[in-house]
């Protein structure tokens, strides 16, 4: 049964392919770390190159998969160090990662996230190997109604983030949903909020949104500090560089739980790392945030989204390889790469192309080990980035972001849009809003609307369809529990566990 994997290791362990896996891991880490480049651009840049160089299909795929998984590792760096997520899946990493860096724990934070990423990816790759064909059946079970219920569950999970200021979290999420409605309405073809600008027909691009919201607003904040001659060097000196074993063990359940969550969400087509890390983070906050320290630099708050986003990256290979459905924007490009090599992914792929599938999965195992070995020692090096004065660091990041966004769209409009969103993000921060709910609202809103409308047009407007299958009923109940249980659990805990103390 696992012949294809043994064959695959045979393919992946040739010197050329090992080298490519390493190159992919290294480049991916860099692409992920540079805001605005991210896995989609990284693969888009290298795919034509691999093709032009005449690499065989397995080798090209190994290189590109290395970039994909590598950038999920790299995405956390600028999140932790600069509060600017390198890619979509790294948004939740800013919440506890950056506060840790501010406390002088940048090195351990980077190390911990590397370990979490490794475990998350390992769990997911194992799942991919063992259950891929089986999971394809689960993915097929998700119709519009089930997806809608899943989105409701994700929104419900966000209520966990409402710690400090519930109203502002809610407003932030609604703003995100609002922004997601820009563009041609897929249901009717009506133009919404496009102001006669063709550039807005496709909606607002995720990268433009993230870079504007986080990177540009960060620069504006810094400018403001500079104007007022504030102390800008609020960053603590770099203390310890390596993560301690005890810290990893403290997070072990958080990591394992989040790995499973990330994998399952990654398997569902159309969701991806941003949703996975958000659900993992909020779930973990529910379960283990006893002293309300999530968001202020809790190790578990960092480990959870990191394990989840890497797990979902590997999970999204399941629908891609078994059904030919891209589970994320990045796998969409990988699919294109396969087609360039005249390989059509789908139900026949495991049978017809065992070398390619096996080689890919084997290279994920190998790449993952390489990434850990690459990233653990580098944590100390990267932590030193913080010693670069911020007036130099942030503009450099900004330039990279501008170049990245421009290369993605070859259009100045994208840059203007990014700047406008940046000003918007700056204002939100000045008013004390957290940016994560805005991003999540943006991602989930589009998916939620699309699936609600599909479900309703199947049923002819009958809302009953949303509660028909066991799967969707299960998700509705889960959503309700996520909101209701903590309300009562808080009281119960106070009664029975007065001495519960954070470890």
């Amino acid at each position: 049964m696992f012949d294809f994997l043994i064959q695959g290791f045979g393919v992946a362990l040739t010197p050329l392919n090992l080298g490519l896996a390493f190159l992919g891991a290294l480049l991916g880490t860099l692409f992920g770390a540079l805001p605005g480049i991210g896995p989609i651009n990284g693969i888009a840049i290298l795919m034509p190159l691999a093709y032009t160089l005449g690499l065989p299909a397995e080798s090209a795929l190994i290189l590109l998969a290395g970039i994909y998984t590598g950038s999920e590792y790299g995405g956390r760096m600028s999140s932790i160090l600069l509060n600017v997520p390198g890619d979509a899946g790294a948004v939740m990493t800013t919440l506890d990662g950056h506060p840790l860096a501010k406390k002088g724990l940048a090195g351990p934070a980077l190390g911990l996230s590397a370990v979490s990423s490794f475990i998350g990816a390992s769990v997911a790759i194992l799942g991919l190997t063992l259950f891929a064909p089986l999971l394809a059946i689960v993915a097929v079970k998700f119709g519009p109604a089930e997806f809608f219920a899943l989105m409701i569950f994700a929104f419900a999970s966000m209520s966990a983030m409402m710690g400090k200021d519930p109203l502002k979290t809610l407003i932030g999420a609604v703003l995100g949903v609002l922004i997601s409605t820009v563009g041609v309405d897929s249901g009717t073809g009506v133009l919404r909020f496009t102001f006669d600008m063709p550039e807005l027909y496709d909606g607002i691009d995720f990268v433009v949104m993230i870079i504007g919201l986080f990177a540009v607003s960060e620069i504006l904040l810094m400018l403001e500090h500079a104007f007022r001659h504030d102390q800008d060097g609020e960053m603590a000196p770099i203390g310890r560089v390596m993560v301690k074993m005890s810290e990893v063990l403290y997070c072990k359940w958080a990591i394992l739980r989040s790995s499973v969550i990330g994998f399952v969400i990654g398997v569902l087509p159309g969701t991806g790392a941003s949703v996975a890390s958000a659900v993992a983070y909020t779930t973990e906050k529910r379960i283990s945030d006893h002293d309300n320290s999530f968001g202020t630099g809790n190790m578990r708050g960092l480990a959870a989204p990191e394990a989840a986003n890497n797990a979902s990256a590997a999970g999204s290979f399941v629908p891609m390889l078994t059904l030919g459905i891209p589970g994320s924007g990045t796998t969409a490009i990988l699919l294109g790469a396969l087609m360039l090599y005249n390989i059509n992914p789908g139900p026949m792929m495991f049978r017809e192309q065992p070398m390619v599938v096996g080689g890919l999965i084997a290279s994920l195992y190998i790449g993952n080990v390489m990434l850990l070995l690459l990233n653990l020692p580098l944590a100390g090096v990267f932590a030193r980035v913080l010693q670069v004065p911020r007036w130099l660091l942030v503009p450099s990041v900004a330039i990279l972001a501008f170049v990245g966004v421009y290369q993605l769209h070859s259009d100045l409009m994208a840059i203007y849009l990014m700047l406008a969103i940046g000003v918007f993000g700056y204002l939100l921060r000045k008013f004390g809003f957290s940016l994560a709910p805005v991003v999540l609202g943006f991602v989930l809103g589009g998916l939620m609307e699309e699936n609600l409308r599909r479900a309703l047009s199947i049923s002819g407007g009958d809302v009953g369809i949303l509660f028909q299958s066991n799967l969707s009923i299960g998700l509705w109940i889960a959503a309700a529990l996520v909101v209701l249980v903590p309300m009562f659990a808080g009281k119960l805990k106070a009664k029975f566990l007065p001495a519960a103390k954070p470890s």
């Binding site: 249901g187 027909y201 005249n342 789908g346 259009d411």
Partner: protein, 325 residues
């Protein structure tokens, strides 16, 4: 110098040929605009064409693929119309999707006459398919079901509202006498595979897509093809799939892959590209690419292509009107 070498070779190869009378190697840099991101269908067309140009010996220069995504090809179309007029080195990957957009005036202020249509390199035929265990056995039966209750069968496709998949479906249904076709339930998904998955999961009943999207699922015994929208049956091993035509519904929908170039080209420039497409199409390299990707024979160039395109746009426009009335 490649230009002279090429002309000489061409004249030698075919003794008296139109290009001896003045096909010119382009002065501008060779560029193929793909109106989509890397990985999309148009990107595929460009990159495979560029590789085949060299394999077919048309040129030893390399042709660069430039991705210009946006507005379903509208951004690239506008760019070519406004900024590339007379540029003899540029071709743009095109497909039936452009025809659909043009038929529906979705490239604001522009029409098919604003560019030079060169030719096609094959086609992917539209098919209508159901789950293997579906009770629907034929196209007439499907039509009967819809006629007694239009909401009894629900359709999925990979193109947007009034896009290629939906229009083809509606052409078939209106040709089959269903009226009004406006009430047909059609749901669009981001890509063909997602639409197919919805049908596999039993959320929807019938999928409209291209044969290349459907075929792997047919081979795996998960989907059954009700009708292929082709003039004749497809070549082996697909010769067992019934066409719509033989079930009494004369709708043909080749989703062609081809190219257009900027307006304002000289006859010699035009001849160069049409000849290049002819030679690529005839090459073993391209035939193999077609076979591996489920592309079917469909090769028209120059004037014939323009006539075909006008007809296709016309048919698409009429169906669109039926729904929008």
């Amino acid at each position: 110098m490649p230009a002279t070498r090429w002309s000489a070779a061409a004249c030698l190869a075919v003794f008296v040929s139109p290009w001896c009378l003045g096909a010119e190697f382009p002065q501008n840099r060779l560029e193929c605009l793909a109106p989509a991101d890397p990985g999309g269908g148009w990107d595929f067309t460009c990159r495979q064409f560029a590789a085949s140009l060299r394999a077919a010996g048309v040129t030893d220069q390399s042709m660069q693929t430039i991705n210009m995504a946006g507005a379903a090809g509208g951004v690239a179309f506008a760019h070519v119309v406004s900024k590339r007029q007379g540029n003899d080195g540029t071709v743009v990957a095109a497909s039936s999707s452009n025809a659909t957009r043009l038929a529906q005036d979705q490239y604001p202020g522009m029409s098919a006459e604003d560019v030079t249509w060169l030719g096609t390199l094959g086609a992917d035929y539209a098919v209508i398919a159901v789950r293997e265990d579906s009770p629907i056995a034929s196209l007439p039966q499907l039509l009967d079901m819809l006629k007694s209750d239009v909401k009894s069968v629900k359709f999925a496709g990979g193109s947007g509202v009034l896009g290629w998949d939906q229009i083809n479906l509606l052409r078939v249904l209106s040709q089959g006498g269903l009226e009004p076709i406006r009430d047909v339930v059609y749901l669009d998904f981001n890509n063909g595979a997602s639409a197919i998955t919805q049908v596999l999961g039993g959320h929807l009943d019938v999928v409209v897509g291209d044969i290349s999207e459907v075929n792997a699922f047919r081979e795996a015994g998960q989907l059954r093809v009700l009708a292929v929208l082709s003039d004749e049956r497809l070549p082996a091993p697909l010769e067992n799939l019934p066409t719509a035509k033989e079930q009494g519904i004369d709708v043909v929908a080749p989703n062609w892959r081809g190219f257009y170039a900027p307006a304002g080209l000289s006859d010699a420039d035009k001849r160069f590209w049409i000849d290049a497409i002819d030679r690529v199409y005839a090459s073993d390299h391209w035939q193999e690419i077609m076979q591996r990707n489920g592309l079917m024979p469909f090769h028209v160039t120059g004037q014939a292509f323009e006539t075909f395109l006008d007809d296709q746009i016309d048919a698409l426009r009429q169906t669109t009107r039926l729904i929008q009335q």
